[in-house]
């Protein structure tokens, strides 16, 4: 009897600490990438969500959800208002920071990424327009969020240097960390020639990917 009482109380304690309830996987939007853009009246948050078709697990389509607000949490609330499912940030592999975010609100972004429990292993990149980068589509992977980290990993191996900047590296760098810069196809930038592929900047030096 003592054993049963002990086990029941242990179960109740565990239940109170677990703090989670069961959610079916099809009731969740799995975010593969997040984009933060500075807009006139605040921040625009973009989430890339890969969706599998019913009973066709190998065929995915990608949808972008976005919301705007004066702060990042209010942008998230705005985004959630139009969604029927919960958002799951635990599988986010990429955080794209728009140009306006770069200097002023990087700390906010990192704070939000931490609060939302985005994995510390997620890759952080800069792009002039996060929404444009996430919306450009992909040929080799179901989502940009899965493709760009792979590309960075590939470059790292071929060049012998690390272009992969993770959330924790950015957060612990003290503000002078060089985050890789990604540009959508065909876009012009001042520092480099016209780009045909994806361009990565490291310390103002562009790396072209064939």
């Amino acid at each position: 009897m003592k054993q049963i009482a002990f086990l029941l109380s242990a179960a109740l304690i565990l239940l109170s600490f677990s703090g989670c309830r069961a959610v079916e996987p099809e009731e969740v939007y799995l975010i593969s990438a997040l984009g933060f853009d500075r807009v006139e009246d605040g921040v625009r948050l973009v989430a890339e969500v890969p969706l599998t078709r019913e009973n066709e697990a190998d065929q995915m389509e990608v949808r972008l959800f976005e919301g705007s607000g004066k702060s990042i949490p209010s942008a998230l609330e705005d985004m959630k208002n139009g969604l029927a499912r919960q958002l799951e940030f635990g599988h986010c592999a990429l955080a794209v920071l728009g140009e306006g975010i770069e200097e002023e609100t990087l700390d906010w972004v990192l704070e939000c990424l931490s609060e939302w429990q985005v994995p510390l292993s997620a890759t952080v990149v800069f792009s002039p327009d996060a929404r444009a980068l996430l919306g450009r589509g992909s040929l080799s992977a179901p989502a940009v969020g899965y493709e760009l980290p792979d590309i960075l990993r590939l470059i790292s191996k071929s060049r012998g240097v690390s272009f992969r900047c993770r959330v924790y590296e950015v957060a612990s760098s003290g503000g002078d960390f060089q985050i890789p810069r990604f540009l959508p196809n065909g876009e012009e930038v001042a520092e480099v020639d016209r780009l045909a592929g994806v361009c990565v900047y490291r310390q103002k030096k562009a790396v072209r990917i064939e």
Binding site: Q3, S18, A22, E24, E26, L30, N55, G90, H91
Partner: protein
């Protein structure tokens, strides 16, 4: 208590009255060679008519007149050819003799009847047990006659140290139950405790040793077996050599062994007939599969519904995709599949062998493919439950326990996620450590591990390394062999 009287006619009347509704009852009255009228009674099918004719009637009719006033004693000593003859004045003894396959002989003017052994019932003979087949090793199995089963054990252990004590159990069945053990190895306290428990049994009949199992075991409601069972004489002989006690009963080929420990669920007789490397792989796989079969559906369910970030991204996406359109929750889907799996297993065990193809088609195509296509269940959950089911087949002795543990873990996982699985594991360990089989901790030798004890637990080391018997009978000689 009725006694045998000197009047032959009255004696026969009483016996006939007792068996008047038994169509197999036979009697024959004849004039013995000694000049005395005699009658022989027996139950057809239980006693052999040929044996009675040759061993009882013919010698009595050919007997020469003697000077012995007691015709029964004279016949028993000098006339009958039967191997086992006993005189009695009690009609109850006569009845029990008749019911066990003996012939009863009455003499005119004599208050003693003879009970002559003439058993003639047929037995199935020695066959390989279907549930315990081996690739290599002895292939003989017990049959339904306890005495011949004892003989099979004795052929393997040719020592006078081997004891076989008998106890009659069952108010109406009067089943002969035998306790078999090696006197120098088995614990005296264990034998006495076993006798006490058997003597306390009150039941109409014992048709199988499982009746005894449920009545003498320690935790009667436990999902774990605390009494071993086998149909193989070599397994019983091996257990006796470890100091265990075997319980045989008439009418069943299943022999019980006590004490029975948790580790024995993972041992197979074949482990000792194969090379120890191969046997060790099999032994390790059985433990692994036990862990796998009870935990895989629960852990998958916990990850899928509570801890989605712990699943690989593409597995989660795939699972979400395959679950699209399934009308049940993951928990209901998992329980439904476990139930279907059990139905298939039960059907497979009960149905005639020539319907096996039908079951394969129904199980494989209908349940497997069509259910997924009809979106009744998801493919990923089907695979997970199937893996769990296949792993469970590795440990048939824990079949019932595995089912309840699997369902229990799944419910806990659905409620609490992975902490629920841990809670279930803790509960299981608490229950196992609190379980005992005839005074021996169920988790031995895992509870107090020793180097020698562990040599036949997770792995099966070569015989050269196994120097002692299991540690549960510490007070007795434990040395199995001396070191080379």
């Amino acid at each position: 208590m009725e006694t045998v009287g000197p009047d032959l006619g009255k004696n026969l009347e009483r016996v006939c009255a007792a068996f008047c509704r038994d169509a197999t009852f036979r009697q024959r009255v004849f004039q013995a060679g000694t000049g005395v009228r005699a009658a022989v009674c027996y139950l057809d099918g239980m006693a052999s008519a040929g044996e009675i004719r040759a061993g009882v009637i013919r010698p009595l009719m050919k007997a020469l007149p003697g000077d012995e006033p007691n015709a029964a004693a004279y016949a028993a000593e000098k006339v009958l050819w039967a191997t086992e003859v006993s005189g009695t004045g009690s009609l109850e003894t006569v009845f029990s003799g008749l019911l066990s396959g003996a012939a009863a002989v009455f003499f005119e003017g004599c208050s003693t009847a003879l009970v002559v052994d003439a058993k003639g019932f047929r037995s199935r003979g020695i066959q390989e047990p279907e549930n315990e087949t081996v690739l290599q090793g002895p292939r003989e199995g017990f049959d339904e006659v306890a005495v011949s089963n004892l003989a099979m054990i004795r052929r393997k252990l040719q020592t006078p140290d081997l004891c076989a004590e008998t106890i009659t159990v069952g108010k109406r069945s009067k089943t002969a139950v035998y306790l078999c053990y090696l006197r120098s190895l088995a614990s005296g306290a264990l034998v006495e405790e076993l006798k006490r428990r058997l003597a306390n049994i009150e039941i109409d009949g014992i048709l199988d040793t499982n009746y005894l199992n449920e009545l003498i075991r320690d935790r009667r409601l436990s999902i774990f077996k605390t009494v071993g069972s086998t149909e193989r004489p070599d397994v019983v002989a091996a257990k006796l050599l470890e100091g265990r006690v075997a319980i045989l009963a008439n009418g069943t080929p299943v022999v019980l062994t006590v004490p029975y420990l948790f580790a024995e669920n993972f041992q197979s007789g074949e482990d000792y007939y194969l090379n120890f490397w191969g046997a060790s792989i099999g032994r390790f796989l059985r433990y692994f599969c036990f862990f796998l079969t009870i935990s895989v559906p629960a852990v998958y369910l916990a990850l899928l519904t509570h801890h989605q970030r712990l699943l690989p991204t593409f597995l989660l996406l795939s699972s979400a995709g395959t679950r699209g359109g399934v009308p049940f929750s993951s928990l209901a889907e998992c329980l439904l599949l476990i139930l279907v799996l059990e139905i298939l297993k039960e059907t497979g065990a009960r149905m005639p062998q020539n319907l096996g193809h039908t079951l394969g088609i129904i199980g494989g195509l209908v349940v497997g493919q069509a259910a997924v296509e009809a979106r009744l269940v998801s493919a990923s959950m089907l695979i997970v439950v199937a893996v769990s089911g296949i792993a469970g087949l590795m440990i048939p002795r824990l079949r019932a326990a595995v089912f309840f543990l699997r369902v229990g873990f799944v419910l806990l996982a659905a409620w609490l996620g992975l902490p629920g699985c841990l809670l279930g594991g803790a509960f299981l360990l608490v229950r196992l450590t609190g379980t005992a089989s005839f005074g021996v901790s169920y988790l031995q030798p895992l509870e107090t591990p020793t180097a020698q004890g562990m040599k036949d637990t997770f792995l099966r080391l070569p015989w050269g390394k196994m120097l002692t018997r299991p540690a549960f009978n510490r007070n007795l000689t434990r040395q199995r062999r001396t070191k080379e």
